[in-house]
């Protein structure tokens, strides 16, 4: 199935609103999905006999920078039976307010591998995944302050009273 056919398949199933845009400039075209529908889209792409995107290769949390004011998640799906690759992107504006994280739905019910990847994105980029079964920090200690892969992250000077240099 080509990129266009997958796009049509999703529009057929979920209506026009599900795809909010596309990026076809690079070597790997990407579909921009309406963030709230991402779990349904992944489930459909995984279960549809025409696509069978059964392997979630990679899930990346992205901070698009302070001026852009956007946070996003990028999904790289692989269909082993058909040898296809597909990139899905969701993103949302967020003002880095002090009491709310950017929130996206979790796909860990569709792909179990997303469980740890989403924990990593939460840990390092500070993205909250709604519906995740166990969203704790995974690589950093539970009491870590801040999210290191955010573009406005400042390296801490002290860790529990110990000077870092």
């Amino acid at each position: 199935m080509s990129f266009e056919e997958i796009k049509l398949l999703l529009i057929d199933k979920f209506g026009e609103g599900v795809i909010v845009g596309e990026e076809t400039g690079g070597m790997q075209p990407a579909l921009l999905i309406e963030p709230e529908r991402i779990t349904d889209v992944c489930l459909e792409l995984r279960n549809n006999p025409k696509t069978y995107f059964d392997l979630l290769s990679c899930l990346t949390g992205v901070d698009y920078g302070i001026e852009a004011g956007r946070f996003g998640v990028v999904y790289h799906l692989t269909s082993i039976p058909y040898n296809l690759q597909l990139t899905l992107k969701i993103s949302k504006e967020h003002d880095r307010s002090s009491d709310m994280l950017p929130e996206f739905p979790s796909v860990s019910s569709v792909y179990r591998t997303a469980d740890w990847h989403e924990r990593e994105a939460y840990d390092l980029v500070g993205i909250f995944f709604e519906g995740h079964p166990d969203l704790r920090r995974i690589l950093l200690p539970d009491d870590w302050e801040g999210y290191p892969l955010r573009k406005d992250y400042k390296t801490a000077e002290y860790y529990k009273g110990i000077k870092i240099d």
Binding site: G26, Q28, A30, H76, M100, R136, L139, W144, G146
Partner: protein, 400 residues
Amino acid sequence: MNIRNSKYQNALETYHKKIQSASVEDMVLNMGPQHPSTHGVLRLELITDGEIVKEVIPHLGYLHRCFEKHAESLTYQQTIPFTDRMDYLASMPNSHAWVMGVEKMLGIDKDIPKRVEYIRVLVCELNRIASHLIAIGTYGIDIGAFTPFLWCFRDREHIMGMLEWASGSRLLYNYIWVGGLFYDLPVGFEERCREFVNYFKPKMIELNRLLTDNQVFISRTANVGVLPMDVAINYGCTGPVLRGSGLKYDLRRIDNYSAYPELDFDIPVGTGAMGTLGDCWDRYKVRVDEIEQSLKMIAQCLDRLQKELKRTPDFDPRAKLPRKITPKAQDFYARYEGAKGELGFYFIADGKSEVPFRAKARGPSFNNLSVLPAIGQGVMIADLIAIIGSLDFVLGEVDR
């Protein structure tokens, strides 16, 4: 600036409560981080009922260095030594994966001289053998067989010596560069390497006789830790772990990158020969068979490198090195078959700077380890050791 919305603390509280209540009814047992069978600094929290493991909770991050932050603050060439430190048992494939991704983004991947491609594949396959030898040797020691460990390390030493000869260091090579290589192979390397292949083939037969067909070893590993194929795919397992479950999925054949399309090799898969398909023995056997395939590939590479791609005095492996690496604005996900599975790098380039805007590493060990809570449930503690060893992860890559 930790965000103190109570919603974000729920999971942590649930976890603390679970451990607290488990300490009353069952026993909470810590395995690691300083435990030889966890193959590095991995801490597993086990909720046990007698000898039965009711739940495995892995705690990662003891080796966390935030590779991605490094990659976002250094240029593409400067990050290559950091990729070496991810899967430190197989550094060559790591840097090859990174370098191939960057070359694709620059559009110079077709201009790489054939000799460079073959040398890259040669050193990567040598390194893959070294990595599998550690997996096999330490797996034996986990299960109680000491001799194979010493034999594997003896043979691995030859590979380490050769790679040191080529690159200057034993473990972390920084040998494969964007657009070329650090140096050409030293004079006499091909002959020495062929000597090693001839020496090593009978050693594998010996090792098989000692460990693979050993009845005690089979009893400990067959029918233990069965990982069905659909579960493996759903958890993102790749490499020998997925092939051990019976799926012929190898990116070296699927993507046909570098010199692999010109090489003749098979993809070993698990067959359930000693028990159930996808058990620990199958995963182990896939690695043993892959060593043989790698030897086959090395022999073919050496043939080419000594004949039509022979070294010439004016051959410069640095000739195609780009001066400045500024890929045009794009995002690109590069995947590669590392020693442990699908190694992926996701780049976001902004087109202006020599530093990637975002670089994400998808380590195969990270995903392979994530299946442990699923297949470790309800097994004996001793079998959990066998399962951990058969997954063969490297903590340097899990934690990055």
